[in-house]
């Protein structure tokens, strides 16, 4: 996962976490852990589509905050 993509995902997760009301300290910790777990999950995969990436991030996020995982996975399904 390249650094630009990592920064974009981290930014989106921080916005979502703040939007659902998670305090900033906890949010930073969640984001770091989710990014680390996502990188581990992506090891060995040569080709990853955007949908795959969203699914993997949401799966890793669910361990820390189910609401975050739901929002991240379903953000394009609201309208």
């Amino acid at each position: 996962m390249d650094s630009t993509l990592e920064k974009n995902i981290a930014r989106e997760l921080k916005i979502d976490l703040k939007g659902i009301g998670v305090p900033e300290g906890a949010a930073v910790s969640f984001v770091d852990n989710i990014i680390a777990d996502t990188k581990k999950a992506l090891k060995g995969k040569n080709v990853v589509t955007e949908k795959d990436l969203t699914r993997i991030v949401a799966r890793e996020a669910k361990k820390y905050n189910p609401d975050l995982a739901y929002v991240y996975k379903n953000r394009d399904k609201i309208i």
Binding site: I20, D67, Y70, N74, R75, K77, I78, I79
Partner: protein
């Protein structure tokens, strides 16, 4: 046209409009990202401009239709003696079927019938609201994609007001204003009292079938009311 039937049409039309999900869905996205990027306080401030934008759009549509129908019925006679009630019966029947099968897309979430490209564009705009003018414009344009379903509702309301002399029109206008934007105030209240986008969206997904059936019944009741108008008053 009698007072009760006039009130019934306005009330039904606006209640049916309340069940449509696009302005409320856009509001949810906008509020979540506004509070995520800045603060809940700023999101609260911007949400008032969003609601104002929606109300502005409803007012513009209503005024245009009221002027058109007032002019029309001065020249061609009362609404009930024309072909219009029967045209509206047909339109409402068609919309009741179309809304049941096509308003929500099949699949997870509450994806609507609008094209995915347009939906993504609207979502992107909602996520990037920064100023009150952005929020106002977003609110003003929020209901436009749904006009194919909601335009006859505004038309029915405008026709009733253009043909009613027995009740003060401000009462109908008040009903129109208050009922039409009440779902937005409800969603604003939900966000303001600590509910987040995940909870609200789960609730919308759970109630999708209810919305679908209620919109269908709303259109059917309007068709029946128009049929009565055409049959008994025409």
């Amino acid at each position: 046209m009698g007072i009760f039937i006039s009130l019934e049409i306005v009330f039904l039309a606006m209640l049916t409009y309340c069940l449509f999900q696009l302005p409320a869905g856009i509001f949810s996205i906008f509020y979540h990202y506004a509070s995520g990027k800045s603060s809940s306080r700023k999101a609260d401030g911007l949400s008032i401009y969003y609601i104002l934008g929606v109300e502005l759009f409803l007012s513009v549509i209503f005024l245009l239709l009221y002027l058109i129908f007032s002019y029309l019925f001065i020249n061609i006679g009362p609404f009930t003696s024309t072909i219009f009630p029967w045209v509206l019966v047909g339109i409402f029947l068609a919309l009741s079927i179309a809304s049941f099968f096509f308003y929500f897309r099949k699949g997870a979430g509450t994806e609507l019938f609008i094209s995915r490209k347009l939906a993504n564009r609207i979502s992107a705009n909602a996520k990037n609201v920064k100023t009150s003018s952005d929020a106002l414009v977003l609110g003003f344009t929020a209901s436009i994609p749904e006009l194919i379903f909601t335009f006859p509702l505004f038309a029915a309301t405008a026709i009733v007001l253009a043909n009613t002399t027995e009740v003060p029109r401000p009462l109908f206008v008040l009903l129109y204003i208050v009922i039409a934007i009440s779902p937005l105030f409800f969603y604003h209240h939900l966000f303001h009292t600590g509910h987040n986008l995940a909870e609200i969206q789960r609730s919308r997904v759970k109630n999708e079938t209810f919305y679908r059936i209620a919109i269908c019944i709303g259109f059917l009741l309007l068709a029946l009311t128009m049929f009565n108008l055409g049959f008994y008053y025409g």
